[in-house]
């Protein structure tokens, strides 16, 4: 991926020539990361890292332990400051971009002093909408997920899966341009995980929101992804970007399809090569 970028840039750089540090990117790109650098003390996690994320796709981020999968989306979403570099969404800065973020730890991400419905409504506060428009958004979101959750309960009265469901709804209610998810299902049991994958795909197929999903589970990463972004050990580079084109909605049968098995095996191979490199 990277080498293509470099070759192409010599051919047809003026196509998107903007600010000097804003290099060429392929058509259909939504998010451009350029020259991203991050150090923790003496360790360099990212050094001059570039990445293009295409529009309307679900990208899984997978890589060795400690390579900074979560750090990457945290920097992109502004949760964590960056040392240097630039992240643009359609050429805009983060502050002009509506994003949604789903945390791994739903228990500590929900506001327990608000009922589930008010948690869901909370991000609408920051949009310029009338009360009626907000109510419509809430109704739409509830209808879209058609899950039977009593939203008038407090988050701690809901099951883990239900809490994470509300958390995802809360991230999606503002119609984000980009959705970030940090290991959203890793605290749930397998049955719940499969159900949540189904729900997530349903919403994704309707909205086609550009999504970055960090996962530590290769099966999940491949199962949900249009592309699997494989990262190297630190200093982190892109090891490979592997497309997976199986039709959606993908179900448990997808998990045993030859295509899935092939992509997963290939990803695993790249992953292990990177792990051994240390």
């Amino acid at each position: 991926m990277h080498s293509t970028t470099d070759i192409m840039s010599t051919l047809d750089a003026p196509a998107a020539a903007g600010p000097s540090d804003h290099r060429w990117y392929p058509p259909g790109t939504h998010i451009t990361v350029r020259g991203l650098s991050k150090k923790f003390g003496a360790t360099t996690l990212y050094d001059n890292f570039d990445l293009d994320i295409p529009r309307g796709q679900l990208i899984s981020v997978f890589g060795p332990n400690g390579c900074g999968k979560s750090t990457l989306i945290n920097m992109m979403s502004g949760i964590m400051p960056i040392d240097a570099g630039q992240v643009l969404f359609d050429g805009k800065d983060l502050k002009d971009t509506r994003i949604g973020y789903v945390f791994q730890n739903y228990r500590e991400a929900m506001f327990p002093w608000l009922r589930a419905i008010d948690n869901l409504r909370y991000p609408l506060k920051f949009l310029d909408l009338t009360k009626a428009e907000k109510d419509v958004k809430v109704e739409q979101m509830i209808a879209r997920f058609d899950v039977k959750i009593d939203l008038h309960r407090y988050p701690y009265e809901l099951s883990g899966g239900q809490q994470q469901m509300v958390s995802i709804m809360r991230a999606l209610i503002v119609d984000p341009e980009v959705l970030f998810m940090d290991e959203p299902f890793s605290a749930l049991d397998y049955e719940m995980t499969l159900f949540m994958r189904e729900q997530l795909q349903k919403v994704f197929m309707e909205t086609r929101t550009t999504t970055l999903l960090v996962s530590h589970d290769l099966e999940e990463a491949v199962h949900l992804a249009d592309k699997v972004l494989l990262l190297t050990r630190k200093p982190t580079r892109i090891a490979d970007i592997i497309p997976f084109d199986a039709p959606r909605p993908r179900n448990t049968e997808t998990l045993s399809s030859p295509d899935f098995v092939r992509v997963k095996a290939h990803s695993l191979e790249v992953f292990q090569r990177e792990v051994r490199k240390s």
Partner: protein
């Protein structure tokens, strides 16, 4: 045999529920025994019956009720002032590492200074009267509350603040919408200690800073004229007040901070 066991199974939970009563009953029995056997001079320790008679007579239409209510009013007034000042300040203090580190020592120092040591200073500032009692009590309570609120804010888990930030909340929004609520459990701990401390200071102030009413003044007056039943009645009234306020705050806390510990 089984019937006996069944009977016991029915009684056992009731006995467990009544457990706190046993201690109180044992205490009263010991007291009654001590007075009736004249182990302690009855002038110094009147019988529980005499004491409770005085308590009853004083509270129902007597002047004890008036003193009781005066003390309640002073305590709640000083507590209200303390809360109004300390909660916002504590939030600001706790949310800024720099400010906190700069004045942590000062607050900790005055928090550790016995409030009674400040009486003369407050007397000079506010004169002999109502203001001084309330001001000293508010001062003492405010420092305890302030410290707890700041502590609660500082130790609030960061994830919820990040969640609000990522949704587009400004710094001040995060403070009001998240940090304030996050610190609530610790704030209540501070408010409970604060109201208890306010009561302690008010009682002491009533004893020694020219008072004409209040439980503290009543206790010291009955001691001076050796009206022991009256003194014990006033002490019990003060005890009941402290216990009741703590209980009330626990109930409010449980209702208000319903998510605490979950």
């Amino acid at each position: 045999m089984t019937a006996l066991k069944q009977g016991w199974d029915q009684i056992a939970p009731i006995l467990t529920k009544l457990a706190p009563l046993w201690g109180a009953l044992a205490f009263l029995a010991l007291w009654a025994a001590a007075t009736s056997l004249k182990i302690i001079d009855p002038v110094l320790l009147p019988s529980p019956i005499d004491s409770f008679k005085a308590l009853w007579k004083g509270m129902v239409g007597g002047s004890l009720l008036h003193d009781f209510l005066r003390t309640v009013t002073r305590t709640l007034f000083s507590f209200a002032i303390a809360t109004a000042v300390a909660v916002p300040l504590g939030i600001i203090l706790g949310s800024s590492d720099k400010i906190y580190r700069a004045i942590e020592f000062v607050i900790d120092f005055f928090r550790s200074t016995p409030a009674s040591a400040m009486f003369p200073l407050f007397l000079v500032l506010f004169g002999v009267g109502e203001k001084t009692k309330i001001a000293v009590a508010a001062f003492g309570a405010a420092l305890v509350i302030l410290f707890n609120v700041a502590y609660g804010v500082m130790n609030a888990r960061k994830l919820r603040q990040l969640a609000a930030k990522v949704m587009g909340a400004s710094r001040s929004r995060v403070l009001v919408d998240v940090t304030f609520w996050e610190s609530m459990p610790q704030t209540f701990v501070g408010m409970r200690s604060g109201v208890s401390l306010a009561l302690v200071i008010v009682i002491v102030a009533e004893m020694f800073i020219g008072s004409t009413d209040g439980l503290g003044q009543r206790i010291i007056n009955s001691q001076m004229i050796f009206d022991m039943p009256e003194m014990y009645a006033s002490i019990f009234a003060a005890g009941a007040l402290g216990y009741g306020m703590n209980l009330l705050f626990l109930l409010i806390e449980r209702k208000f901070v319903h998510w605490g510990g979950k």
